[in-house]
Amino acid sequence: MNKTKRDYELLSAYIDGELSAGEKTALEQKIKSSLELKKKLEDLKKLKQLTTSAYSPLDESPYFETRLFAEINSRKPWYYKIRKWTPAIGFALLTVALLVVLKYNPGIIKNIIEEQKSNIAGFYKENLQPLLYAADLNNEDIFNFALYKQLPLDKNKKEYLLLGNDKTGREYFEIKHKDKNLGKDNFKKFVTALDLNRKQREQIDSILNQYADELKLQVLVNKQNTVAINENLWNYRKAILTDLMSFAEKTSGNEFRRMMPRTVSFTNNPELVSAANKLRMNKSKNYIILTPDSIFSEELDLGKKDVEKGLSELKEKLEKQDKGIKSFSVNIRYDSTWKKFNNKVNWSSNYKITIDTNRCRVDLFDFPSLNMHLPHMDSLSSMLDSLAKHFNNYSYFIPEFEYSGDSLKFHFNGDSSRTYKFKNFGFDIDSLMSSQGILLDSLRSNNWNQFYNFNDSLIWKNFPGFENYFRSFKDRDDIREQMQELKEELRKFREEMKQWKKEFRNPREFKTEKEVNIK
């Protein structure tokens, strides 16, 4: 590079202000002494002015950012774009996989479901054992079952099986964590109300024991909270009730009459009794199996003879050796291999299941036929319900009392905390008639399902609920004799009334069961 050109280059940098202080001073000295450099400097300055002023800024691009970010998003890597399609792609692949599997193995889903069902069923059916031992049922429980349709499944957990009928007569059962608040000693009260002697008590006990043996295979339970209920259970209950009532009627006719309307008779209803007997013979293998997560019905072949043998042996052992044993388990052999299961199990939606916090109710729609029928039992059911409500009124325990001279002092244990003390006592015979009048009035008003306390004992009106304690008084037998006579007269009186009513009222309303049968 020659010297002049180098100086020109420095001039260019000079007008740009890019020379160091030393270079600048040296160049300025040179410019002063050189006309050529001066001219060149002017020339360069002019040129720089031209280029600087030539520029006019561009107009802004309004959609620059919008375009840019759209472009950036569209240029994201493929895996980034594909990410939002992942669920759709997943479903698509799954569908294709399913199609392929179903194409070559069409029954697979059904098989899986059936297998799962059988696994579930198998799990829940393990170690089913008779309720009688599992829940340690006694005669009181069986009595409550017959009369109040309540059977405890687990007393510790307060779990109860309740049977019932809805308004249309359809049967249902409930498993509840709360009992019906039945009170204690119902069976004992019933026995007391019937005024049974020791022998008769033993008889009624043995009836319940017999049914207990039958009942033990009707309800099975296990630790998996499974409950298997035989389809016959509803009829079994009726059979127990029929047997209990006919026994009560036979042995304590009068006491039974007091509790039941005179039109109700079990002994005069041979069809009912024979049906109840047949029912005991009827064996059904069909069980409704209720598990914590499913309900199905299945035939369980329990090998009943073996079970019964095993159970009776255990029972003997219990009685002989250790009375303290509360429960023990019995294994029941049954065939639940899934092939067999598959053919016989009924998963159809025949059940309506209602569950809330403390109960599980199962309504049975087209349940496999309960082929036994107890004649006239349905018409009796409302009256039996009344009996269940009322028999307590006829059952009085003899209170402890102290007798000194002319005063009596009673100590009430149980129902009452009160102590009565009175000096004088007497009988109000008239009250007997007035009470009878109430009953007759109720007949007249067509309201014949309504029962009053038919207190034919000596009534002390001023002490409601107290009058029957006279039955325990020392001259009780004399009073009873008198009462029997009175009762007999009343019975005759009732017969007359009945005849009289038949003549003047619509006969349909007063048909007795007996009359219906004859027709």
Binding site: Y8, E9, S12, A13, D16, E18, D43, L44, L47, K48, L50, T51, T52, S53, A54, Y55, S56, P57, L58, E60, S61, F64, E65, R67, L68, F69, E71, I72, R75
Partner: protein
């Protein structure tokens, strides 16, 4: 307000301005999507102007500017904070322009003669009486390596140091190229001197 506070208020914006691009880049690295949008808003006009001055054509400005910012977006996470963001940004801009011109020159070979003539006629400076346009057209006739330093210096107001970093050349080379550019410009404009007066 006392004098100390006043001082603080005056100093603070300057400090912020210095670190602003860096802090935005840090926010972008921390997955803050709005930071990149601010960077674009701040620098897009400068980038567009450099492109315009370098190519002397408004057709492709936005397309190339988009390419520039897409390149920035892709590589911003690897920014090393060793030089200013703008230096890096303008380097990318200049390189994009260079790429475009290279491709354009290759394409020119295949353009029909007729079209090429039309283009030439359109760019003929004599037809324009506007001094600015005459000068801009003259600049556009300079070779790329002379034109860019001149534009960055005279129009964008870069220092020689910044031009050297942007174009990845020595400062001496910048000095020489700018002088040569001016010499070339003078030669181009010589016949048009009467119009420039």
């Amino acid at each position: 307000m006392n004098s100390k506070n006043k001082e603080k208020d005056l100093q603070q914006p300057q400090i912020l301005k210095l670190d602003d691009d860096f802090s935005l880049i840090k926010r972008f690295i921390d997955e803050d999507g709005s930071a990149f949008r601010i960077l674009v808003q701040r620098h897009k006009e400068k980038v567009r102007n450099i492109i315009f001055m370098t190519l002397n054509s408004s057709d492709m400005i936005d397309d190339i500017a988009q390419e520039v910012f897409i390149t920035v977006y892709k590589n911003l996470k690897n920014f090393r904070f060793e030089s200013q963001f703008t230096t890096w940004l303008y380097r990318i801009t200049v390189n994009k322009c260079k790429d475009y011109l290279r491709k354009k020159n290759v394409r020119k070979i295949f353009v029909p003669i007729k079209d090429a003539e039309e283009n030439f006629q359109y760019e003929n400076p004599v037809e324009s009486n506007d001094i600015s346009k005459i000068v801009m057209n003259a600049i556009s006739k300079l070779p790329y390596k002379l034109k860019v330093p001149l534009v960055l210096k005279d129009i964008e107001g870069f220092s020689y140091q910044e031009i050297a970093e942007t174009m990845e050349i020595e400062i001496g080379t910048v000095k020489s190229r700018i002088f040569r550019a001016r010499e070339g410009l003078r030669e181009i404009l010589k016949p048009l001197e009467p119009e420039l007066r």
